[in-house]
């Protein structure tokens, strides 16, 4: 069965500094020493977990929104499933999946994807629904085919809403993915768990936690930038 990883002692790399042995609030020397071996790999793993979850979640939610845009009756069932996945406490959802997919990264990704669906679906669909009727009418009347209308008109016009959804989903997943170390020992959750189990080793806890927060802020800022680039028309107002 799953459970917390076995307790570890505060890593002792030769002469541990006084700061580390005292378990002071933050020891820069420890961070420096363990950056390459622990923190950086954990950060990259975390980023990978997040990217995979958001990417797959987006593909599913986008496809569902494309269908729901025309077939209204699809909206409710999908929203319901999404909402259910979204509201199950993360630890419980992980545990529910373990019997099927084991203590693996697959389990982690499935759960993380589950959390993105509702947000991404709702936002993408709202983006489609906000496309003005007269714009669609003009597009049809000018002889654009269904697929051309989707990719040239509806998707570009839904981009602000889609990007807003991606921002929320990404930040949510970055935060939730720390809990994933409970199942699969990777990502920034891994050093956090280890720190908690070694009598709450403050430096490692703050360093890893701080990295998770920084990653979330950075990702959000990056997505804002992307949004500006892909929707130049949304910013300029009449002068």
């Amino acid at each position: 069965m799953s459970g917390p990883p076995p307790p570890v002692v505060i890593p002792n790399f030769g002469g541990a500094s006084k700061c580390v042995t005292n378990n002071d609030l933050f020891c820069a020397d420890w961070v420096q020493h363990n950056w390459g071996s622990t923190l950086q790999p954990a950060l990259l793993e975390h980023l990978r977990l997040t990217l995979i979850a958001v990417a797959i979640g987006f593909v599913i939610a986008f496809a569902a929104a494309v269908v729901a845009r025309r077939l209204r009756f699809v909206e409710h069932p999908f929203t319901l499933v999404g909402a259910l996945l979204y509201t199950i406490p993360s630890i419980a959802l992980f545990q529910l999946l373990v019997p099927f997919t084991g203590l693996t990264e697959t389990t982690v990704e499935i759960a993380l994807i589950g959390y993105t669906l509702l947000i991404l679906f709702r936002n993408t669909l709202a983006g489609f629904q906000a496309v003005p009727e007269d714009v669609l009418e003009a597009a049809r009347g000018m002889g654009l085919r269904g697929r051309e209308i989707l990719w040239r008109i509806e998707v570009p016009l839904a981009l602000p809403a889609i990007m807003a959804g991606l921002r929320i989903a990404t930040v949510t997943v970055i935060s939730l993915a720390t809990v994933a170390a409970f199942i699969d020992d990777e990502g920034l959750g891994s050093p956090i768990f280890r720190a908690i189990q070694s009598n709450v080793f403050k430096t490692e806890l703050f360093a890893a936690g701080g990295l998770a927060v920084a990653l979330a802020l950075f990702a959000d800022a990056f997505l804002v930038l992307v949004q500006r680039l892909v929707t130049p028309w949304a910013r300029r107002e009449r002068t």
């Binding site: 003005p132 007269d134 714009v135 669609l136 009418e137 003009a138 597009a139 049809r140 009347g141 000018m142 002889g143 654009l144 085919r145 051309e148 008109i153 570009p156 016009l157 929707t231 028309w233 949304a234 300029r236 107002e237 009449r238 002068t239």
Partner: protein, 329 residues
């Protein structure tokens, strides 16, 4: 050269409705009922009538945004049922009241949509866009602006030339100037007529404003509730002899005056200018008879001196002459 003309660049096409009926499912009355009319190539046909008379429906049948149940519509002799709907639409300019510009595309890109779909070479598209932007009185710099940066009148101009971009033979226009203020509307109507002189298309123009219909139409089709054609004729003929009470009411009690507004002093015979009263008011040959009459009434004059562009006296207009014109069939 001759080949290019034959291939349809800038050419117009005849549109024929024969016994066309459209019933919306779940509706008792037909939206368009047994409609038959011919729009000659290069003419402007205005569909006019009260709300719900089926004007929009009749117009959208032509580009198959709505499919009809019975009858047939042909463009240049070919039934539109035989054509692929998308191909058909790409050959028809389409302008709607809400304009429907694509907000994420610049003015230039909006205009270039259909030429791009048709695979025109880049250079030709660029030239066409530049030509149209100029033709409609926008500045070259406006090409790179987004629709949200334009005024309502400018947007409607862009909507108009966007529909013209791929040199369609046919234009469909649904109340394109309906949402504009009277001054802008008047200006756009004039621009539209000027454009029509330059690029002659067969136009089906929907409005519920009889004055707009009289001003723009070569022919007017008046529809009544239930999509029935009440009268189809030239504006002057409709004003002179309305087919029935409905048409007479629709064109208004002032139809005589409206009719006078259709003709300019240059188009009628004037009295000889012998014995010009020294204090008679003057006006130019380009004045409409209606405005000339109004001038006489406001000045309290029996006669009006009409002068040509160089200021020479061309003739005399009397109130009596005007009322005789009104009596003409």
């Amino acid at each position: 050269m001759a080949d290019r003309k034959a291939a349809g660049a800038g050419a117009a096409a005849e549109i024929v409705f024969s016994h066309v009926t459209k019933h919306y499912p779940g509706r008792r009355a037909a939206a368009v009922k047994d409609l038959s009319l011919v729009v000659p190539a290069g003419e402007i046909c205005v569909l006019v009538g009260p709300s719900g008379a089926g004007k929009t429906t009749a117009m959208k049948l032509v580009n198959r945004l709505i499919d009809f149940d019975e009858g047939d519509i042909t463009i240049d002799g070919r039934s539109i049922r035989e054509l692929d709907a998308v191909e058909l639409r790409r050959g028809i300019g389409y302008v709607i009241q809400q304009i429907g510009l694509f907000p994420h595309m610049t003015v230039g890109d909006n205009i270039a949509v259909v030429p791009r779909l048709l695979g025109w070479p880049k250079q030709r598209i660029r030239e066409r866009v530049a030509e149209l932007v100029e033709l409609v009185g926008l500045e070259a710099g406006d090409r790179d602006r987004y629709p949200s940066q334009l005024s309502g009148g400018q947007r409607q101009r862009v909507g108009l030339v966007r529909a013209l971009a791929a040199e369609p033979k046919v234009m469909l226009m649904d109340e394109p100037f309906g949402a504009l203020d009277p001054i802008t509307r008047d200006r756009l109507q004039n621009e539209f007529l000027r454009l029509h002189e330059v690029e002659r298309k067969t136009v089906i123009f929907v409005t519920h404003d009889i004055d707009e219909a009289i001003k723009l139409g070569d022919r007017i089709a008046i529809l009544r509730e239930g999509g029935v054609l009440a009268q189809y004729d030239a504006p002057d003929a409709i004003l002179a002899s309305p087919a029935d009470d409905f048409v007479a009411r629709f064109v208004g009690a002032d139809r005589g005056l409206k009719r006078l507004a259709l003709r300019r002093l240059s188009e009628i015979e004037l009295d000889s200018p012998n014995g010009i009263p020294p204090d008679a008011p003057r006006t130019s040959l380009q004045t409409t008879i209606r405005d000339a009459l109004s001038l006489m009434l406001t000045e309290g004059a029996e006669n009006l001196v009409v002068v040509d562009d160089s200021g020479e006296v061309a003739g005399l207009l009397s109130v009596g002459r005007v009322s005789r014109l009104l009596a003409e069939p």
